[in-house]
Amino acid sequence: MKNRIKSQFAGCGPVLTLLIAFATIQAQENMTANYIVVKYGDEVATQGLAGGFLDNLAEYLGNEFSEFEDKVVRGHIANTPESAGTLLKSTNPVLAFVSIEFYLDHLLNKADMQVVAQVPRIGADKDRYYLIVGKDGPASLAELKNQTVRTKFAFSMPFLERVVFPPQFQPGEHFTLQAAENLADEIFLIIENAGGGFNTGEIGSASALLLDEELKHFFQEDELVWPEMKVIWQSDFLPPGLVVALGTSWNQKTILSLLTTFKKMQSTDLGAEILAMMQSPGFTPVDRNLLTKVTTRYLSRKTAK
């Protein structure tokens, strides 16, 4: 009898090993809280350059948010739609710090998703897109007909089409929209008014540049750039960056607790340091009206298209 039991258990050996291994992996996964940050077209939004920021934010969340107390918090960052999509799948994040375009394109349809807070930055509690040209360039969006407009190296075309530009001035129809390898170089070419390609075989300069709120602020601060440029068009207001909770682990209480954690950032040394890096005065509750308005526009124009 004993031998029979022994042999039965012997057969179970490999299965048990696998089960234990699986349980261990599960336990490890449960011990980690991943979050992602998505900033399309931002050259410094890489794991190498933004490593310090991601670590600080992870440390802050680990210290201040009770749900993450016993977990290893890890941050990941992406600056293109492709890498952001990959991160979303591979890291299974519980939190996402994203732009409105990524939210609309990738998170809107997710079942377990809740928008927790928004992150106003660089002195504005709402975002916008801007078209800038050289100071002697076209005067309006209408004058850009059949011209070339360049923007940051990664962006969401559906978002620009449905939310940012009015129906009568659609990129690809009214003007050509291209990704710029180096926006600073584009500005140099515009300032130098060197649209002819200088007989070097290079692509000529663009007629206008499409900038988001942050890029506009960056160039606006440059004394050699802004006096040489002018803004010819600006989009309607858009929500700033959003914090989205993902997955089934959230409930009303933990969402509120997370919002409180964000709200009190300015009162801690580490939190204040993070906000300074983000150039933000602090996280605020979401402007639901604006978000609904933009979401509705995104969805309705999708149907229209």
């Binding site: 410094v44 190498g48 350059l49 933004a50 600073a184 140099f188 070419l189 130098e192």
Partner: protein
């Protein structure tokens, strides 16, 4: 029977002294004065002080013997080290500062070489004959990697530059390099910082050139290539962080001088002032002198100053206190004169017996003043009491001899025995000090016992008016009266004693037992040599190392390979031959082929537009970096400023004029590329190293007259700290058991000194107990006599650890223990002896004498606590705490215990 025999023995001595003092006072004083004059002459003209530590250490330690043999064969390694430091605020010295640092080294070296009789050899750099990669072979693998890895890593960028050496293309490459660097997480902060600094420097040079303010042909990329600052192509010794440049000078000490290195050091310092005057002040170059001879010389000066100042102040302070206590000037002044006699006689005795004084033995003067005056106080207290009781001077002297003569001798002899027992220890410095201090105390006792009473007798016989000032003690108005007449409840007393004993036990359990062997912590904090030695340590000290000697190259290579396997212990090793020569030649070979295969074209025609576009790109990239990383702000700002300036220059100047300048620069840079490739062929494609091509200075250092080879083993950790030193010596001994050198000597001699101090403590305790037993024949009396001492040691140990600023035992203050043992028992003896007289007056006088004598001792040693030398200062502090605790126990615990357990008069 025995008791009566003892009494008659005492009486005989007392009678003899009385006869000498009363019948021949002038003769006694004259003989003493004459001998003191001889002693004074000897001190000022004959006695010399040895400062060489090697003469104070034990010859019996094997490694010391081997080290002395090594010095005989290879020459002494005690070197003065010139430390030249660039401004600490900048991340790294730039090329102008490096040139200025070298200039200081050159001038100092030239000046020192003018005095070969005291500074026979000065080494500022290793001068290699001809070209070749030999110097590179002496760098470590890690250093070679730091130097050449960026070249190998960015080979594609080098090709791109060589393909078109035009300035705009250089900037394009630079932009790519910066972009890569920003994304490269493997790059350390230091490397990035060096990169930014080199770029700033390059752009500054470019700006100057474009403004016609400079004719130098440095390009941005040649500046980048020179990123590794540790390696100096001229062979100067830069530290690994490149912040420090060192020059080494052998120095010959003058054995006959009090401070053997003083002349050489003074000359070296004057020369340094001359050298520093040759570089502009805005270079922010500082320099100073470190190394063992400088430390030794400075320590000698500080200690000598401290001891002389301490001795004089002690003498004045103790005498002043004496005057205050006794309310008259003449008798204390005579005691001070007797102290002077004692000191002079001890110098004479030292000259005859030991022949010299040492740095450590100089402390005896303070000991003698602090303790010698106690004999006078005890004598004078009882003598004045006798005069106050209307005795004649002769009777008073007789009465004093009878009352305290034996206690005075016993107290003095036990204290002297405590010091003399130190002469049995292996550490020569301590043995000599013990012998001199012990003998000096006996001499002082003799002077105070014969000469001082003779002076008092003469005084009070010839000037009877002076006696009128002396008044008898009134009961109940002084602390000693209160203590003598103390009436207490028996059970409360027992509880108090028990509690006190418990506290003593606790103090022993939680006391200070750690020993700090860091010699640098003993030196004066603001000593120049000490400060520069610390700077040297902070920047990777190469002045301290262990040495292994080998008969052949094979054995040495094997040992070397073993040392390389313990990188946590051994930083690196140096010898005549480079380590892993073949491995390094292979590595350099790969660098060589990479560089020599680069194809160099002529640059494109100058395009100011393209150049401006690349500079604009760089400018925006820097702005983005600063935005993204607040920490980088300071590092990037200077580079950003230079970039802005360049961009504005390109935007505002006339294209034709600029084009010409840039064209010249491009041509010069292309020529530089060609010569760099040629240099790479010559320097990086190594030939086999031959012994005869190795510079003579290296041969002299690492090869003896008899062909023995020396291997220098450098520690990884700061070996001024005991734990690191112990780990280092013990670990390297597992590989090479016969290692020697300064570090091994520090370790062995440190252990020897600690052993010696411990033995001295035990010997003195044993000697005191033995003497007391012989004197009293009563274990009970011995135990009571040493009670204040035992409790004071416990309190001292406890306080040393638990004070707001704890004090650790070190090589200097450890000597406080034998001193404390010698002094501590003295108070006990006097009080116990007085207790045995069934006479309140004697007890009162004894207590008064104990209070007065201990107070003067505290003052005497307390002066040392204000010394500049941290070791001497801590010795003073430990003694003040210990003796104060001893006094407290002698006035509280001892009388209470005596009252409880010993019947008066027994």
């Amino acid at each position: 029977m025995k008791k009566s025999a003892k009494k008659s023995w005492h009486k005989t001595i007392s009678r003899y002294c009385e006869t000498l003092v009363v019948k021949r006072p002038i003769g006694t004083i004259l003989v003493a004065a004459l001998l003191a004059l001889i002693g004074g002459y000897i001190y000022f003209f004959e006695l010399y002080i040895i400062s060489d530590r090697k003469q104070l250490i034990s010859r019996n330690i094997e490694s010391n013997q081997r080290y002395l043999e090594y010095i005989e064969e290879f020459g002494d390694n005690e070197l003065l080290i010139l430390v030249v430091q660039a401004d600490e605020r900048a991340p790294q010295p730039d090329s102008q500062q490096r040139a200025a640092m070298k200039k200081v080294a050159d001038v100092w070296t030239d000046e020192l070489r003018k005095q070969p009789e005291i500074l026979p050899e000065v080494t500022k750099r290793i001068a290699w004959n001809g070209s070749g990669s030999a110097p590179l072979l002496y760098l470590s693998h890690a250093e070679l990697q730091t130097m050449f890895q960026p070249i190998l890593k960015h080979e594609n960028l080098l090709h791109k530059v060589a393909e078109n050496p035009a300035l705009h293309n250089q900037f394009e490459v630079l932009n790519m390099l910066l972009k890569n660097a920003g994304n490269d997480t493997s790059l350390s902060r230091a490397t990035l910082s060096s990169l930014l600094q080199a770029l700033t420097q390059g752009l500054r040079a470019l700006n100057l050139k474009l403004h016609g303010e400079s004719n130098e042909n440095d390009s941005i990329l040649t500046t980048l290539i020179a990123l590794n600052k540790h390696y100096d192509s001229n062979g100067y010794f830069f530290s690994e962080n490149s912040r420090i440049l060192t020059v080494y000078a052998k120095v010959i000490g003058d054995a006959t001088a009090g401070n053997r290195y003083a002349t050489a050091l003074s000359y070296a310092r004057t020369s340094l002032q001359k050298a520093l005057a040759t570089v502009p002040a805005n270079m922010a170059i500082k320099a100073g002198i470190a190394g063992m001879p400088a430390l030794e010389s400075e320590e000698l000066e500080t200690t000598r100053g401290d001891f002389t100042r301490g001795a004089v102040l002690s003498l004045l302070g103790v005498t002043a206190l004496f005057v205050l206590m006794f309310g008259n000037l003449v008798r204390p002044a005579l005691a001070a004169l007797c102290l002077g006699f004692s000191l002079a006689l001890t110098f004479a005795f030292t000259y005859v017996t030991v022949g010299h004084l040492s740095l450590l033995a100089m402390i005896f003067a303070v000991i003698l003043i602090a303790l010698g005056v106690d004999f006078a106080i005890h004598f004078l207290t009882h003598y004045e009491q006798a005069l106050a009781n209307d005795m004649e001077p002769a009777q008073a002297i007789q009465h004093t001899y009878d009352a305290i003569g034996s206690a005075l001798w016993m107290g003095g002899l036990t204290t002297a025995a405590a010091f003399l027992s130190a002469s049995l220890t292996e550490f020569i410095g301590l043995a000599e000090l013990g012998f001199i201090a012990g003998s000096g105390l006996i001499i002082c006792l003799l002077v105070m016992y014969y000469v001082y009473p003779a002076m008092l007798f003469l005084l009070d016989t010839n000037f009877p008016k002076l006696r009128r000032g002396i008044k008898s003690h009134k009961r109940g108005n002084t602390l000693s009266d209160k203590l003598a007449g103390m009436k207490t409840n028996n059970s409360a007393l027992k509880a108090f004693v028990l509690l006190f004993l418990l506290l003593i036990t606790a103090a022993f359990l939680f006391g200070q037992y750690r020993f700090d062997t860091n010699l640098l912590k003993l030196q004066a904090v603001d000593g120049a040599a000490n400060q520069w030695q610390r700077i040297l340590i902070k920047n990777g000290d190469r002045s301290l190392f262990a040495i292994g000697t080998f008969k052949n190259r094979f054995d040495m290579a094997q040992a070397r390979a073993s040392f390389a396997k313990i990188p946590g212990i051994v930083h690196h090793t140096d010898t005549l031959f480079p380590y892993d020569e073949i491995g390094k030649r292979n590595y350099l070979g790969s660098v060589c082929s990479t560089l020599t295969e680069i194809k160099i074209n002529q640059p494109e025609l100058v395009s100011i537009f393209k150049l401006k576009r690349q500079v604009w790109g760089l400018r925006q990239q820097l702005r983005r970096f600063r935005k993204a990383n607040a920490e980088a702000e300071t590092a990037i700002l200077p580079l950003q400023t230079e970039t802005e300036r360049l961009y504005k220059t390109l935007s505002s100047s006339s294209a034709g004029k600029l084009g010409k300048t840039v064209s010249t620069m491009q041509q010069a840079f292309t020529a530089q590329l060609f010569s760099a490739r040629q240099a790479a062929r010559e320097h990086l494609c190594p030939d086999l190293l031959k012994e005869e091509s190795i510079p003579e200075s290296l041969q002299r250092t690492f090869k003896s007259k008899n062909g023995q080879l020396a291997l220098f083993i450098y520690p990884k950790q700061n070996t001024w700290e005991q734990e690191s030193l112990q780990e280092f010596v013990q670990s390297i001994r597992k590989i090479e058991p016969n290692v020697i050198g300064e570090l091994v000597s520090l370790y062995e001699n440190g252990n020897s000194i600690i052993r010696s101090f411990l033995m001295a403590t035990l010997y003195s305790l044993a000697a005191i107990i033995l003497l007391l037993l012989l004197w009293t024949r009563s274990i009970e009396t011995v135990l009571f006599s040493i009670l204040p001492l035992v409790s004071s040691v416990a309190v001292l140990l406890f306080l040393m650890r638990n004070l707001p600023v704890p004090i650790e035992w070190n090589f200097t203050n450890f000597f406080a223990l034998p001193i404390l043992i010698g002094i501590g028992v003295d108070s006990g003896i006097h009080i116990v002896r007085a207790w045995h007289f069934n006479d309140d007056e004697t007890l009162r006088s004894a207590l008064k004498a104990v209070i007065l004598s201990t107070t003067t001792t505290i003052l005497g040693f307390g002066i040392l606590a204000t010394s500049e030398h941290m070791g001497v200062s801590s010795l003073g502090k430990v003694l003040v705490i210990g003796i104060s605790a001893c006094l407290f126990a002698a006035l509280t615990l001892l009388p209470i215990s005596l009252k409880l357990f010993v019947k008066r008069g027994h």
